[in-house]
């Protein structure tokens, strides 16, 4: 691996950044967050349409099915931009975990239909892993699943129980979805109740691989949010005047920003590398994805808190909207294992 981004990867990042900077204003964020807070889907449909045209949901899907056929590192780079923008669109489940799971399944007919629909932005998939309150009987699934990612506006749900993935249609009878009020009001989290709903099993899909991919996708968004928070802090500190000079001229504020930078850079490199390794060196991917999410989560906690502190009272209000990025980092931390859990796995994996 060349340890920095290729020209193509940089172009992808810049294209998404340009689009997101134009479209995801603080007004858009507030409007969609109000929906999310009310337990509705926070996805901005117009934005989703735009990003679909840029290839967002098809990033990891083979070009035979209308996707871009790119790799996890490209998905990381895009996820980072989504995090930087606090974009109100689904990502980890719909654009990463579901396409990978379906691609990995043995039934090629499934590939064709579903992947084509996902790449076209028409099929949106909420995903739940380790849903152990589900039972499957003669092709029908019943029970409960909590913490279903990207559940708002989903047309399908991909549910893993007992090591097997099942796809169900969101509009089938017997599907009851309640959206939680998520801590990040721009992402969505659902609670599903299922009553003998027809379910299509996917065979041969590795739960571990899908989990790794999900962790990397969450970490990518978190480091993107951190980049924004650092930039915003440096900028605010240059503008805000107290005691007759910009607060950024005070050593305390300077050092807070320096520490944010020091935590951010290694986390970015590690998350990129986890994306690279996921495709290129599957044997090292389990460890690397754990390390990457654990580090990104901790950087996220430190940087988001410190950014609020640099902004003082203004960071605590909604006036600058900083808390949306704070909440993205905190939300991601709690899903697919918090750092305390991940670190135990890291150590155990190495026989410690």
């Amino acid at each position: 691996m060349d340890f920095t981004l290729s020209e193509e990867q940089t172009m992808i990042a810049e294209a998404f950044r340009g689009q997101l900077t134009r479209d995801v204003t603080l007004d858009v964020i507030r409007t969609q967050a109000a929906l999310g807070q009310a337990g509705k889907s926070p996805t901005d449909q117009g934005l989703w349409q735009q990003l679909t045209e840029m290839g967002l949901p098809g990033l990891l899907i083979d070009d035979t099915y209308g996707g871009a056929g790119l790799g996890m590192l490209e998905a990381v780079v895009v996820g980072q931009e989504l995090g930087r923008a606090a974009a109100p669109v689904p990502f980890a489940a719909t654009c990463v975990m579901a396409p990978l799971a379906i691609t990995a399944s043995a039934e090629v007919e499934q590939h064709k239909t579903w992947l084509t629909q996902i790449a076209a932005g028409e099929m949106r998939v909420g995903v739940a892993l380790g849903a152990d309150m589900l039972q499957v009987d003669s092709g029908r699934i019943s029970g409960h699943a909590r913490f279903v990612f990207d559940a708002g506006g989903a047309t399908h749900f991909l549910l893993e129980t007992g090591g097997v993935f099942y796809l169900v249609e969101a509009h089938a009878s017997g599907v009851y979805l309640t959206l939680e009020r998520p801590f990040d009001p721009l992402q969505s989290l659902g609670h599903l109740a299922l009553d003998t709903v027809p379910a299509t099993p996917l065979s041969g899909v590795s739960v571990d691989r899908v989990t790794e991919a999900g962790r990397i996708a969450l970490a990518a968004q978190t480091i993107g949010a951190c980049e924004f928070l650092l930039d915003a802090s440096v900028e605010y500190a240059a503008d805000r005047v107290q005691f007759g000079r910009p607060i950024g001229s005070f050593q305390a504020i300077k050092h807070m920003c320096a520490e944010m930078a020091a935590q951010l850079y290694p986390a970015i490199s590690l998350v990129w590398y986890a994306g690279y390794v996921f495709d290129k060196d599957a044997a090292r991917s389990p460890l690397n994805s754990l390390l990457a999410k654990a580090l990104a989560d901790e950087a996220g906690r430190f940087i988001s808190r410190t950014a609020i502190e640099v902004h003082g009272g203004m960071g605590y209000t909604d006036l600058q909207g900083l808390h949306y990025w704070y909440k993205r980092a905190a939300f991601n931390r709690n899903l697919l294992g918090n750092p305390e859990e991940l670190r135990q796995d890291i150590a155990a994996m190495q026989g410690i």
């Binding site: 807070q37 909590r146 913490f147 939680e180 009020r181 998520p182 801590f183 990040d184 009001p185 989290l189 005047v241 107290q242 005691f243 007759g244 000079r245 005070f250 305390a252 504020i253 906690r301 808190r305 609020i308 502190e309 003082g312 009272g313 203004m314 960071g315 605590y316 209000t317 909604d318 006036l319 900083l322 808390h323 704070y326 909440k327 905190a330 939300f331 709690n334 899903l335 918090n338 305390e340 859990e341 135990q344």
Partner: protein, 355 residues
């Protein structure tokens, strides 16, 4: 209200307020105050109102107010019949209050006030405001600031809730446009507002504030752990959790005893020195750390958020963590606190000033 009246009558609240203004008229005795506070906490009894009016306005009026001001406001305030809000901070005067701009211009027997205040908590439920305004436009920094009290329903006052990260507008912005107040609104002399406002600080009970909230959080946390252990749903490894819990408990216990020591020192008229200055910094940080431990414990449950959660619910921790982060910033950020500890407490040399 009745409870408050009972408390005041028996000297369990506002005990040092003179009887003529509706108080108990006791000598200042910080040790007794602390004991009462501990006992009420241990018995889980509400300790009566602790509004900004009682903790800040009443001592200020007692020290600097006119007889008319004392008669008019003290009894009503300590009985909870009148609520006050504080108008100190402005958008460009947060950590640095000396740069406040809200101006009061003399006009006959009145002042006419124009400007904007921010971080005015409970302005939406208050009847009265105590406020710092600039009466001498050209005076530098501290000089030229005056302390005034007036009703918040005067013409020209607009109160707008300020949305915060918790989803609750616990603060307000207050816009003042040609607000006319009589000169009798002044507390203390004109231009002495800085001195008047700062004299309140020595009455602040903040010193004793941290320990109860921390003890409450520790006990909530212990309860949460027990329930999660029983349910097998701990989201972090048990020894790591033990380690963090016990580390925080040691720090909380240290702070609690340190505060008790400060009470003992005050009771013996020993100067508190640096010790008194570290309490806010530590208390706020520990609250936040305890909140965050609870969130980590709850794992994926913490991905959901209920802004209307009850205080007794497990869903409250997210909100507390943000509220406590706000307190780390509010009333002097942690950085300002450290400056104060270093300069006033440790006597370290002052920073270079701007050229």
């Amino acid at each position: 209200m009745r409870w408050q009246k009972l408390l005041v009558e028996h000297g369990y609240a506002c005990r040092t307020v003179p009887a003529e203004y509706g108080g108990f008229g006791a000598e200042e005795d910080i040790l007794k105050t602390a004991i009462i506070s501990e006992e009420f906490f241990a018995a889980d009894l509400p300790q009566g109102l602790n509004s900004q009016g009682i903790s800040m306005l009443v001592p200020t009026i007692l020290e600097h107010g006119t007889e008319a001001q004392k008669s008019a406001w003290i009894e009503k305030t300590i009985l909870g019949e009148v609520f006050w809000c504080q108008g100190y901070s402005e958008p460009d005067a947060g950590s640095d209050l000396t740069s406040l701009k809200t101006a009061a211009v003399e006009d006959g027997d009145d002042f006419v006030i124009n400007g904007q205040k921010i971080w005015t908590s409970s302005a939406h439920i208050a009847q009265m405001m105590f406020c710092l305004v600039r009466t001498e436009a050209d005076a530098p920094r501290h000089a030229g600031i005056s302390y005034m009290i007036f009703p918040v329903d005067l013409p020209g006052i607009e109160i707008r809730p300020l949305q915060t990260m918790t989803g609750h507008p616990s603060f307000n912005e207050v816009f003042l446009t040609d607000v006319r107040v009589p000169k009798t609104a002044l507390v203390g002399d004109r231009g002495q507002g800085w001195v008047v406002a700062n004299s309140t600080l020595k009455h602040e009970r903040g010193m004793l504030g941290a320990a109860h909230g921390l003890a409450w959080r520790l006990s909530r946390l212990r309860d949460l752990i027990a329930r999660q252990k029983a349910a097998g749903s701990l989201a972090m490894p048990i020894e790591v959790l033990r380690d963090r819990y016990a580390g925080l408990q040691a720090r909380v216990e240290g702070l609690r005893l340190h505060e008790m020591r400060l009470v003992s020192m005050a009771a013996e008229n020993q100067p508190a020195g640096t010790g008194a200055l570290v309490c806010k910094l530590l208390g706020c940080e520990l609250n936040h750390q305890l909140d965050i431990l609870a969130m980590d414990l709850r794992g994926p449950e913490s991905a959901a958020y209920n802004p209307d959660a009850e205080l007794a619910s497990d869903e409250i921790w997210h909100q507390l963590s943000m509220y406590d982060l706000g307190l780390i910033i509010g009333g002097g950020t942690a950085q300002i606190q450290k400056n104060i500890i270093a300069k006033r407490g440790l006597g370290m040399p002052r920073e270079a000033r701007r050229n």
